[in-house]
Subunit: 503 residues, 2 copies
Amino acid sequence: MKSYEQTFERVVGHARETALWVTTESALGWDERTKMPTAAAPYRTEQITFLAGVIHHRRTDAELGRWLAELSESPLAADPTSDSGATIRHLKRDYDKRVKLPQSLVEELARTASVAQHVWQDARARDDFSSFREVLGKMFVLKRAQADALGYTGSPYDALLDDYEPDESTANVARVLAELRDALVPLVAAIADSRRSPDEMILARHFPEAAQQRFGSMVAAKIGFDFGRGRLDVTAHPFCTSLGPHDCRITTRFDEQFFPTALFGILHEAGHGIYDQGLRTEWHGLPPGEAISLGIHESQSRLWENLVARSRPFWQHFFPMAQQAFPALADVELDDFFFAINHVRPSLIRVEADEATYNLHILIRFELEQALLAGDLKVADLPAAWNEKYHEYLGITPPDDADGVLQDIHWAAGLVGYFPTYSLGNLYASQFFAAADAELGGLGKQFAAGQFAELRHWLGEKIHSQGQRFTAAQLIERVSGKPLSHRPLIEHLRGKLAPLYQL
Amino acid sequence: MKSYEQTFERVVGHARETALWVTTESALGWDERTKMPTAAAPYRTEQITFLAGVIHHRRTDAELGRWLAELSESPLAADPTSDSGATIRHLKRDYDKRVKLPQSLVEELARTASVAQHVWQDARARDDFSSFREVLGKMFVLKRAQADALGYTGSPYDALLDDYEPDESTANVARVLAELRDALVPLVAAIADSRRSPDEMILARHFPEAAQQRFGSMVAAKIGFDFGRGRLDVTAHPFCTSLGPHDCRITTRFDEQFFPTALFGILHEAGHGIYDQGLRTEWHGLPPGEAISLGIHESQSRLWENLVARSRPFWQHFFPMAQQAFPALADVELDDFFFAINHVRPSLIRVEADEATYNLHILIRFELEQALLAGDLKVADLPAAWNEKYHEYLGITPPDDADGVLQDIHWAAGLVGYFPTYSLGNLYASQFFAAADAELGGLGKQFAAGQFAELRHWLGEKIHSQGQRFTAAQLIERVSGKPLSHRPLIEHLRGKLAPLYQL
């Protein structure tokens, strides 16, 4: 065996061992959020902090750095889209980034994030932005220091965005989101001006939790979430996590007085889960067996949640079953149900927003966090800037900061550069779906017949099984033949909403 | 600070870090047995094997060995019942034992146990002892090699017993169990000869799982299992495990057609849990904050399950609630219920045996495994020897090996020396309980009033909070004023059973 092949085996072994730690950390995290008794929290924090330290130590192991430096010059790295090439490229990039960050900065960020989240929680509860101002200012100073340590060519935001959407640039995201905004604001305004609106109360009848659990699990299994390799639990804040190559856990929350919460939540997380379950298990814990980016991951959840499960054909199949499962729907017409689950209305809270306005919530955060990081906006002026943008894009003004600038935990947690991945997910989802529909021909007919396997296999082949071989930008071009654009999402929204609102 | 005090701090830090790994392993193990999707099993084995390796490596760390050697000569070790003395004594003993075992033997034992459990499962399913003979023979050869490597003064069995019941001797266990046998065999025979027997069918009516879950949790909380620091889940084979100082998890199984299974199972595990929850949390992961032995642990589960929860006063309090919770008990008299849950009858299967005959099942295994280890009994002759002893002690003969010598997994798993701790648990439990009853005066009256706190605090003070400061033998003398004896158990059984069976 050539020496670089031996080195590659060493790197693979190293990464697989790291993955054992990472998945163990995921197991502790899943348990913490779903099952753990409350009094156990401080010790669990100790366990996870300790494990995180071990993982960080492994990932910045100087020997790993030498192996990767050697390999990046070898023939194994020549094709960055080969399994070995992708492995070397991504691990080296991860290593190089991690060693650039001074230990003191990493610790200060962790400490500040911990403090800031407590302060934020309290500030939100008391609707008092001023008490959050100082620690938020400190967080942005630290994030800027992080960006400076990592380095960037365009804006400092590039360095942070890279953690969540690798290889993507702020300028490109800004371009496509601005185009989306320019098309979306008038669409949302036209809907608001229309005289049509669904009877949302049909979704606010009584839907017993046990029946929701059975129905949601049945639908998730039907679209392809494999319960032999996963499970569903209950949490306040739904999520999806993988504890191993055959162990994907999704969670939801149930609201007996509002049907969409659990079901679309389950299908959203099941979409994430189907991606994880479609990764190549033989490359588990290595770049060819890992998800590309948060945006691509979100595209899979949004595709199933919105493009599939909020479509009319989907409910042609499932609505009769829903009527069987829920007496509250017995006298409801499919058309009324379909309109109700697709109601578009400007609202204050991002996580409760509909498919269309959701992206305007993201745009606001994306624009504001760039300005904060660049120093163009002072933290003290943030609430006013927030309210102004809500008025401009959504035509509403938050009555207070609790339901305004204080609604999200992200900035307190140090997640700057994260928000745009939600909208990127929506954009990717529409562009992927349009390509699948064109290629497979008439997905609607399949959905109406309860058939989802063809779409799932197509996604598996084109996206899930590709792991990190391609960048998100490369993947979207390979799959759809075109670079990322706002058009498929706008076309999808117009196509569905124009008839409903008679635009 | 004196140098040995610094060394002690190092040892404590080392052990606390090891405990982070051990509790993480416990978390993975709990999840594996309660929640994990089936397909995830192979990767979970990888995770746990890897962690076990890390833990073994830490526990045989030569630096730890040097620290402990230094400390064992220091003033901190002078009083072996002080916190520091107990810490040094137990950690040194653990270290010295571990480094005596050649790595090759450890691996061979692990491999053989893995193979043997599969072979055993298959042999039991096919009722074919002969297919299990070879690997069982190999296991006993390896266990003998383990005993020889560890060293012993009395019999090789001493070296193995020490893993489960530290500081105890085979001779002493044999003495007390023989005395127990001599008193128990005639008692069980007299019961079998009596004309009395309860109507067991009242326990085999319909008991809905949800109601059992609620009732069992209520009773467990009432006797003192703290659900704020623990939880209850469902498994095929019930157990109790702690994932941290405030995170004790118990499990049970529900049988809707047999009331005692879940309830007494829950109270048994809750008894284990109350011990764990009563350990000193500031010494978590260190000998002063750990349980003494399997026998003492079992004494706490048996005490609550049998001495408390199979007593008449206990049901004076809870039976009206049970009748509320289960319509199936509405027409049942307390006396009939009490007799039914205390029915004694020789039976084939250890895990289904009653409070009295259970110990004869243990005696048989204890005597046979000693003979196998000493070479006095050949594996080929084991089934005949087994059946002979069942006839002699219990008056019954197994119809086949599946329900005879093949019923337990222990020997296949390499757990030789483990069985007697079950009976030691019963013996300790009775001796502790008699002491508590004498000291606190009239526990029955308290139980009848639904009061369990005084007993629990007494156990907490006398036993739980002592950790490993005393050996089991020292503890039993300190608590009861007498060395371990078969008498309290026999007196307890006679006291309850003689009136029921009119002996």
